[in-house]
Amino acid sequence: MSLLEFKNLSVNFTTFSGTVKAVDNVSFNIEKGETVAIVGESGSGKSQTMLAALGLLAENGKAEGSVKFAGRELINLEISELNKIRGNKISMVFQDPMTSLNPFIRISEQMIEVLTLHKGMSNAEAKKEAIRMLDAVHLPDAKQVINRFPHELSGGMRQRVMIAIALSCKPEILIADEPTTALDVTVQAQMLDLFKGLTKDFGTSLILITHDLGVVAGIADRMLVMYAGRIVEQGNVEQIFYTPRHPYSFGLLHSTPHVDNPKLRLDPIRGLPPSLENLPSGCAFHPRCDFKLERCLKEAPKLVHTADGRANACFYKGELKREGREK
């Protein structure tokens, strides 16, 4: 049994213009202690997959299928039961540290409330523990900072506070939704080191939602590539980075700048991500794909697992190749 099992999870949003399928029949597992990156463009459903697991979908969203945490079904779990898991066994760090802390409440109280709720600590004990956590995320002057309001901290400091809150109950799983997107590059690197160190120290599984392949390479063991609500490829980070099998993963990797050969042109994936309200027929990626077959226009490929532990959803079995063009 895996720690977290997603099985045929779909997420639908009811909007004025009809139903939008943000996540389409997604299945994968997260094992204890591993770091998995979920990669994809905006709107590929990577965040919604995780929000669905924790019952945090927007009001008009509905999750179908199954997400099991340590064998226990999370979808449609009673809210009081779910509340014993969120923030305690599974916690989440959000993308925007500037707006994710409550601007009206002191840092101390926002940290203490999790510990008193889930760990039954007294306020004094919880405050001590909170300061210890702030030290653990390398926030200088934790004793002073804890008494401040969020607007008195910088973005990087706030994200450290968010991470400290998320890790304070020693969760088994930490979901980080683009935790570094809103931060400076130097702070990004510090955050990644922090994640690496802390997940190792606490034995926490880390699910990292990102569209930054540099982040993935630096920290993840495994990766899932999502496109238009589906998983199109999954496998070890090295496998996918060196030999991508899906044209979309291939395109993503080729659209990142190469430090070792700066003369190579950046090769973006042409076209735009499809609108979820109006997906292309067959494989959703076919209008942007350089390797498409006749079949791709009519039929959506299923995710096929192979013996080497990888999986991909593509009919094209040949070699993915593109000439690197010089500037």
Binding site: L54, G55, L56, A58, E59, I79, S80, L82, N83, K84, I85, R86, G87, N88, S91, M92, F94, D96, T99, S100, L101, N102, P103, F104, I105, E113, V114, L117, H118, F149, H151, M162, I165
Partner: protein, 307 residues
């Protein structure tokens, strides 16, 4: 903070002066005077009376005398219509009445309005929400001069539960209907402001964080969402309270409560210059003080605001 309050008080002084000058000019430019009646007074008598009240002096002298009287002696002058009564007497008699039912109306409007708004937001898009919104819209479009007679018809004439008017030193049965009539539309406005701001807050990122922490909905609403959601309501409270005090005109007319609203209307009709001025200044003073109070409250609630 202290400097902010001092500065605001300093600004209030010229504001009050401008208010006094404008109302003085407006009153003087209205046709007629306190002693005009259908049967004109003999010229000599009129001149005597005007001399007694200082109305024979040039306008700017009258204005200066008036302001000096207020500043040095706290004296708003004698009433021109009531013999032996000063403006201070008129206000001292009517204002406590108005303040009493105004205070209760304020309490009712805020407590019912805020609760209704919160409930509607929590049960967004359910029948409870539609019901609350329906009540608010209904209550808001019903002006108090329509509300008052309806209340009298129901509670006095049909059910015979409450007296139809009077004050009797402010016994509770005399307060109920004025309070309902005065508070309803404010309650409705507060409910609608509260609902929409609460909905906005509940959709914010930090509430999603609170949910992800596993907090109960009670803690999310009262600890995390209430303060930020209250800010727009508080902005509205200053004008609302002053509105209730000035809106007492209608209440005093319907329920014969004897508050300051009635004096205000009568003084205007009678061209009782000093009483009009006195009550206008009182209302102006209330408006300025409550706006200041709201700003102080704001800083107390929102840690980002520092003066």
């Amino acid at each position: 903070m202290f400097r902010f309050i001092l500065r605001r008080i300093a600004i209030a002084i010229p504001t009050m002066l401008i208010l006094i000058i404008i109302s003085f000019v407006l009153i003087k430019s209205a046709p007629g005077g306190p002693f005009t009646s259908e049967r004109p007074l003999p010229e000599q008598v009129l001149a005597n009376i005007e001399a007694k009240y200082g109305l024979d002096k040039p306008y700017h002298q009258q204005l200066i005398d008036y302001i000096v009287g207020i500043v040095t002696r706290g004296d708003f002058g004698p009433s021109f219509r009531y013999k032996d009564r000063t403006v201070n007497d008129v206000i001292a008699q009517g204002f406590p009445v108005t303040l009493t039912y105004g205070f209760w109306s304020f309490i009712v409007a805020v407590s019912v309005g805020v609760s209704l708004g919160i409930i509607a937001a929590i049960f967004h898009n359910s029948w409870i929400d539609y019901f609350a919104v329906g009540i608010s819209i209904g209550a808001q479009v019903l002006p108090n001069f329509v509300m008052a007679p309806i209340l009298v018809i129901i509670f006095t004439l049909w059910l015979n539960w409450l007296p139809g008017g009077g004050w009797h030193g402010g016994q509770w049965q005399y307060i109920i209907m004025p309070v309902i009539a005065l508070s309803t539309s404010y309650m409705a406005s507060i409910a609608r402001i509260m609902r929409s701001s609460m909905l906005e807050v509940l959709n914010s990122n930090f509430i999603r964080t609170a949910k992800a922490k596993g907090l109960s909905w009670r803690r999310i609403i009262f600890k995390h969402a209430l303060k930020p959601a209250l800010l727009p309501v508080i902005t509205y409270l200053g004008p609302a309270f002053v509105g209730m005090i000035t809106g007492s005109v209608v209440i005093d007319m319907y329920f014969s409560t004897g508050g300051i609203g009635r004096e205000f209307v009568n003084s205007a009709l009678n061209r009782d210059y000093s009483v009009i001025m006195g009550i206008t200044i009182l209302f102006g003073f209330l408006t300025i003080s409550f706006n200041l109070l709201v700003d102080i409250l704001y800083a107390w609630i929102d840690p980002k605001i520092r003066y």
